[in-house]
Every structure is written in structure tokens, then in C-alpha cells.
Symmetry: C2
Subunit: 223 residues, 2 copies
DNA sequence: TTGAAAAATGGACAATCGTCCATATTAATC
DNA sequence: GATTAATATGGACGATTGTCCATTTTTCAA
């Protein structure tokens, strides 16, 4: 069993990271000060220096944590999917637009960090690796889809399909960022599947764009 | 003729706004301080308070200026386009991905502001109106395209096409933000036109995705 | 129970933030 | 050219920023 020592240590580290993410989501990066962070975490001023060596390192850790959260959710979903490329792509899209992954908090955090990515090298790096991982997951799935079709320039088609799907998902996230209240997950999925069905009529149809459960009305105000 | 008084006044106002945009593009919002701004503008500290009443108002004016720049370029392009919906959409896409509109500076500025939009009410408002204007331009064009086809649920199709096109453009901008060096304008256009050709085969083809001139190699380092 | 090491506290500190104003400079009018 | 009002200057100001450390508290081992 891990001692109480290490247990508290890890608990406080996490409290600081969560405090940063909460603050970024609610107040934005520019208002996420050390005072704001330690107040939310309910800890003392010196803890940031003790555990992370400084505010910048803490923010970097928060970015990494957020990124791992995203992939944790996505890869968990992916394990429940089938082995075919089509099933995996459908699951990625469904997951990326699900309430667990795409919500007010995650969107606020993600775009806040990305807006500063250009200047914070560490943030940019994770922003990159996150996108690269998603890209390779989708590209891999499309490659296996295209292989079944046996068309000539298979690699190029898979690349275009990956690029288009990622761009559409990006666009939908932006949609959600700007209008979280009037965003329609079903509509977002329908449009992406229209694109897929047009490119691969043998594998995709609009029927894939139906969410298993949709009940977002009254209980949905996470922020 | 306008007096030298007003002429200088306007010139200094503009210098401050440009200084903000330059700083945001190069250093990010969090490092865009009053000291940074007045140093870039070559003016004295008090000018911000004199002309804008405070830093926040200046930043808001900069956002507005940037937004008007974007539409100025886009609407100029649109005047050279034909009257048909198809031509207007092609021109909007071409313009939105052109070097004059989509470049390192504009992308840095746009995403930096958007990352803070959630917290700055004034910024959010302009982010909204900018998107709304573009949306209505595209929707209008698609509506006239769909009308020619005479399909039953014309309004819904035009709405989906607009939504998809906007999402794709958004995604391409994000692509450029994350990888300005390896971004390929031709590829971006090709993917969007693949989407359009699939939805409206009678009006769009991949032939629309060819840029008039492409020479971006050595001379392209605007930032 | 005692000693030592790890963890946590909270205030001191210099640096920087944005605002504002007394002063100096400039341009337009008489 | 003198007067007046608009424009511009740059430093003072209090507030807040992030860092760091002397001190206290807690945990584990002897």
C-alpha cells in the first residue's frame, strides 16, 4: 500500500492541476493567476513552487493532463468498437462529438490553450502531439477502408479523407465553442457522414449519424 | 481637406491598433502589455488612455479592426466574382484560403482572440458577427444553387452545405495555425471541393480547386 | 517516544501591471 | 504673432503578478 505521504502528495498535485483547468475554463488564461489557482485548490502559495517549480510548469502539466484525459476517453470508446476501419472511424467521430469529450469545459480549455500555443513552446508541443495521435488513428482506419475498395491511388485517398474528417471535426468544435447552446450533435454527425458517404458509398451512410441517446435539455449546464 | 490635427490623431489611433495586432500575433495576448504596445507604436504611455480610455477598449478596437480587414478583403474579392451561387461560393473559399486572408499573422491574431472570447464580452460579440456574416453570405449562395436543382427539402440541404463548408474552412484554418510551414493550399481546396462535388455534382467539380498562381516557396515568411 | 526528513504554510520581495494626471508641445484661430 | 484649445508626454501611483524562503506541521523510521 502506498504511504499516506505519497498519497497526499499526489492528491495535492492533482488538486493544483484541476484548479488550473477549472480557472482556465471559467476565467480564461489571462485571469488564471497563482492567487486564483491556490484559492481554488485550497492550498497555500508555496505549493506550486514545491510541486512544479513554478507556474509555467504547472500550466504545462495541466495541458498534458487535459490532453491525456481526451485520449483516455477516446481510446476507451475505441476499445468497444469493432476491428473494421469503418467501425473505428464511426466510433471516433461519435466519441469526439459526445458529451463526455465535447462539452463547455473541454472546449473552453482547449481553445484557451491553443490561442497561446504559438508562444508557449510546451503547449504547442502537446497541441501537436494530440492532433498527430488523432490523425494517425483516423488515417490508419481509412487506409484499411480504402484497401478493401482496392482503388489505384489508395494512399492519396486515405490522406484526403483523413484531412477532411479532421477538418470537419475541428469545425464542429469551433461551432460548439461559439454557440454551445444552439449546437446540435445530431446535425454535426449528419454533415460529417454526408462527407464520408460521398467519398465511400460502399462503407458509410447517413444511418451512421444517429446518436444512441439524446437527452440534453434541462440537465445540461456543466459550466 | 482634413486638418493636420485630425490627420495626426487618426494616424496615432491606427498606430496603436496596429501595435496591438502585431504584438498579439508575435507574442500573444498575455504578453501584450501597455508597455509593449506603446513601444511598438513609438508613442507615449498616456496615448492609450487619451484615445481609447483604457487598454481594454483599445484591444476591442483592434479586434473590430481585424474583423473589418477580413471582410474588406473577402468582399473585395466577391465583387470580382460572377452572380451565380456557384461562382460566389468558389470565390469565398478561394478568398478564405488565399495568402491575403489566411497567413501567419491573421491566423495568430484570430485564434489568440478567440481563445479569450469566452471571457471578453466585446471580443465574443465580434467573433460572432464575423462568423454570422460569412455564414449568411455562404447560405445565400447555396440557397440559389439549391433552387436551380429544385430538390424538395431545399432549405435543409442549403443549411447542411453551409454548415459543412464553414466547418471545413474552420478546420483548414486550424491546420494552418498548427502547421503553417507544411500547409498546402491546393490540398485544402481540393478537399473542400470534393465535399461540394459530392453534394452538388451538377455545379461543382474538383476543377474548381486549382489556384490561379502558386509560388510560395522562398519569399514566404511574412512573420 | 524520539529524531529526522518530507511536506505544507504564508508572508516578504522585486518586478510589472494598467490608470491617471500635471506638464509640455503642437496646431488652429483671432 | 498672440491666444486658445487640442494633443502628446512620461513619471507617479496603488494593485497585482510570480518567485522564493524561513518557519511550522506532518509523516515515517528508529
Amino acid at each position: 500500500m502506498t504511504g499516506k505521504r505519497e498519497q497526499n502528495r499526489e492528491q495535492n498535485r492533482l488538486a493544483l492541476i484541476e484548479a488550473v483547468l477549472d480557472s482556465v475554463a471559467e476565467k480564461g488564461i489571462s485571469e488564471t493567476s497563482v492567487s486564483e489557482i491556490i484559492q481554488r485548490a485550497g492550498l497555500s502559495r508555496g505549493m506550486i513552487h514545491l510541486h512544479f517549480g513554478g507556474k509555467d510548469n504547472l500550466v504545462q502539466a495541466a495541458v498534458q493532463h487535459s490532453s491525456e484525459d481526451y485520449y483516455g476517453g477516446l481510446e476507451n470508446l475505441l476499445q468497444t468498437a469493432g476491428d473494421s476501419g469503418q467501425e473505428r472511424i464511426e466510433m471516433i467521430i461519435r466519441g469526439d462529438l459526445s458529451k463526455e469529450v465535447l462539452n463547455r469545459r473541454s472546449v473552453s480549455i482547449w481553445y484557451a490553450f491553443r490561442g497561446e500555443a504559438r508562444n508557449r513552446a510546451a503547449v504547442a508541443e502537446f497541441s501537436d502531439t494530440r492532433d498527430d495521435r488523432l490523425r494517425s488513428m483516423i488515417l490508419h482506419a481509412f487506409t484499411s477502408v480504402v484497401r478493401e475498395d482496392g482503388c489505384p491511388d489508395a494512399a492519396a485517398v486515405a490522406r484526403d479523407a483523413t484531412h477532411g474528417t479532421l477538418a470537419l471535426l475541428e469545425g464542429m468544435w469551433t461551432d460548439y465553442l461559439l454557440h454551445p447552446d444552439r449546437f446540435d450533435r445530431e446535425e454535426a454527425m449528419r454533415i460529417i457522414f454526408r462527407f464520408l458517404a460521398a467519398m465511400f458509398p460502399a462503407h458509410f451512410s447517413l444511418a451512421g449519424a444517429i446518436l444512441p441517446e439524446e437527452a440534453e435539455g434541462a440537465a445540461a449546464r456543466p459550466l
